[in-house]
């Protein structure tokens, strides 16, 4: 294994059409995930994170008007596979957990039955074997008394327990990639911690790669191997965690990190970023960050900065990476 690539997204672009308007939600992104890697995709709401993950699973809504690029998974381009092959891959090779597990669990089916169905569909297990497997999975995700949990309905679980059931279902067929779209956003601190630890355990024990989508930089700092930052449909910076936090290069990343309040900043003014996150329907020309950027020059208003390699593993899309803000702020 080692340096082999698990998932390679190249120049992925997704455009929707709604009310006769074009919405370029994802605008040409490159992203590579290695086997067993915890890759965090970070961005504010509307940046295109969910659209990216739905593209990988080929679960995009029907109003896509333009889809470009390739998504290679173990050397197959997911965008070219037939729906039938894709259906076998989903839940088996690549699976997903979401922010609101309640929405994806069938309220009228017992938790155990739902997970059993997934296993039987993909692995062709007998009822008895599937039952044993579910029991084992529930134990693994930390549902105490798995036998009892199997016979419960989703509404009888707390938010954290529902997320555990979702995780059990997602890992039931030993996927090599788990996509987690803000799975802990609505959970309490303690439960968040448990879920992150559970995911890290699974990642390590079965060499499962995780694409973790979030806007929470605390979780990312704790758990990620590699971080990609998304802004207005593009990846603007990508680096190993420690590199990104110790030497961020893109002005957006740098300002974002400086904006987080803390006890140490008591009595000082927070950094903040002027302006607002742009709407994909009317993006500024050139670098989409230029109206908010203290370093913006004429060049930035006219040209789109490409995502270029600065050093091994560190890429940044800015004409002036790492330039001092100086007296500009």
């Amino acid at each position: 294994m080692g340096s082999e690539v698990l998932l390679e997204i190249k120049d992925l672009a997704v455009e929707f059409t709604a009310h006769q308007r074009k919405i370029p939600a994802v605008r040409g992104i490159d992203l590579t995930i290695l086997p067993g890697q915890f890759h965090a995709l970070v961005g504010e709401s509307g940046a295109g994170k969910t659209v990216t993950s739905l593209s990988i699973l080929r679960l995009l809504p029907p109003n896509v008007s333009n889809l470009r690029g390739s998504i290679k998974f173990n050397d197959h381009d997911l965008l070219q596979l037939s729906e039938e092959v894709m259906r076998n891959l989903r839940g088996r090779e690549i699976s997903m957990i979401f922010q609101e597990p309640a929405k994806y669990l069938n309220p009228s089916l017992k938790a155990g039955v739902q997970v059993m169905e997934a296993i039987r569909y993909h692995m062709g297990y007998s009822e008895k074997a599937a039952r044993e497997r579910v029991c084992e999975l529930f134990e693994k995700v930390g549902l105490s008394d798995p036998e009892l949990a199997m016979d419960r309905y989703p509404h009888e679980f707390s938010g954290g327990m529902k997320q555990r059931v979702m995780i059990a279902m997602a890992i039931s067929c030993n996927p090599s990639l788990l996509i987690a779209d803000e799975p802990t956003t609505s959970l309490d601190v303690g439960v968040q911690r448990q879920i992150i630890h559970l995911l890290l355990d699974l990642q390590r024990s079965s060499n499962m790669a995780i694409l973790y989508i979030t806007h929470d930089l605390g979780i990312v700092r704790y758990a990620a191997d590699v971080i990609s930052i998304m802004y207005a449909g593009k990846i603007i910076e990508s680096a190993p965690k420690d590199v990104l936090f110790s030497s961020p290069l893109h002005p957006y990343t740098r300002l974002l990190l400086a904006s987080i309040p803390s006890r140490e900043k008591r009595g000082t003014r927070l950094q903040g970023i002027p302006g607002t996150v742009p709407n994909p329907e009317d993006l500024p020309p050139g670098c989409a960050f230029h109206p908010r950027c203290p370093l913006a020059q004429q060049k930035c208003k006219e040209n789109v900065p490409p995502l270029v390699r600065i050093e091994a593993g560190h890429r940044c899309a800015c004409f002036f990476p790492g330039k001092e803000f100086g007296s500009l702020l």
């Binding site: 080692g2 290695l34 890697q37 915890f38 504010e44 709401s45 609505s186 309490d188 601190v189 303690g190 968040q192 911690r193 992150i196 890290l200 806007h215 929470d216 930089l217 605390g218 979780i219 700092r221 704790y222 758990a223 990620a224 191997d225 590699v226 190993p240 965690k241 420690d242 590199v243 957006y252 300002l255 974002l256 904006s259 987080i260 309040p261 803390s262 006890r263 140490e264 900043k265 008591r266 003014r269 927070l270 950094q271 903040g272 970023i273 002027p274 607002t276 996150v277 908010r292 091994a312 593993g313």
Partner: protein
């Protein structure tokens, strides 16, 4: 320092009714604290701990089941209904979701004007005040005739803050005022709230589930857990010598961005 708000043995019980909550819920259990003039009382707690219920009970938007609330020397439990209108303008509240707080059919001007008409302002006074308020919260005056859907979440929250300010309040309860906003926008709103506090000598109760934020801005901190105020004290004290295990648990959250706890994984060549 003079106490501006005092809460004594406040309890709130929601009667058990309906299908979801079959049993009575004790949302607040015997809460006492006081807020001095000019302070920022930071109230931190997890979802369901009773933060919003406490905010609503303090302002009698929902009457407490037991206990007393004093605003200065005035006991709010005994205020007759006809005095509430004036009092409400002095004590404002701002909620988490900027989308539901503005009437979608009213332009910014109309939203801000309503309260000013109630205060008896003339047309000219209203226009001047609105211009000044928008300037203070950083919304260009030429957008005054736009409607809420034409603004981003952060801009809406600024308009809501302007509307609260238009009543010349002394005291504002902020219930998760930035939780629905993008990280890059939050700092701007927090800076704005800090500036306004200084300029108008305001007192805040600032509610959040985010201890880093509470630790950044509070002068006094209260920790709510399951309807009980498990810790309350001066911010520096609570942060450096937390007494309750739950406060310590929150302060030691490894998932906090500023956690001193070593992140679980560090970069090795193989992981990239």
């Amino acid at each position: 320092m003079k106490s501006i708000l005092r809460v004594e043995n406040l309890t709130k019980i929601f009667p058990g009714s309906g299908i979801i909550k079959r049993y009575p819920v004790k949302a607040l259990d015997n809460i006492s604290f006081s807020v001095e003039e000019g302070e920022i009382f930071g109230l931190v707690g997890e979802s369901g701990s009773g933060k919003t219920t406490l905010a609503r009970c303090i302002l009698f938007l929902d009457p407490p089941t037991a206990g007393k609330v004093y605003y200065g020397n005035l006991c709010l439990n005994t205020v007759p209904w006809y005095q509430w209108k004036k009092l409400r303008s002095r004590m404002q509240i701002i909620f988490q979701d900027p989308n539901s707080a503005l009437n979608p059919r009213l332009s910014v001007r109309r939203s801000l004007e309503e309260g000013l008409i109630n205060l008896g302002y003339s047309k000219k006074q209203r226009n001047d005040t609105i211009r000044k308020l928008l300037d203070q919260v950083g919304i260009p005056y030429n957008q005054v005739d736009r409607y809420p859907h034409e603004f981003s979440g952060g801009q809406k929250q600024r308009i809501i803050i302007a509307r609260a300010l238009s009543m010349n309040p002394k005291f504002i309860v902020l219930d998760e005022p930035v939780s629905n906003l993008d990280v890059s926008i939050q700092a701007g709103i927090i800076n704005l709230l800090m500036d306004l506090k200084k300029e108008f000598n305001l007192t805040y109760i600032f509610i959040s589930h985010d201890l880093d934020l509470i630790a950044y801005l509070s002068t006094k901190i209260g920790v709510l857990k399951g309807g009980q105020l498990v810790e309350v004290g001066k911010a520096e004290e609570v942060l450096s010598h937390p007494l309750h295990p739950y406060t310590r648990f929150l302060l030691e959250n490894p998932l906090s961005f500023h956690s001193k706890i070593q992140p679980l994984k560090t970069y090795t060549k193989e992981t990239v």
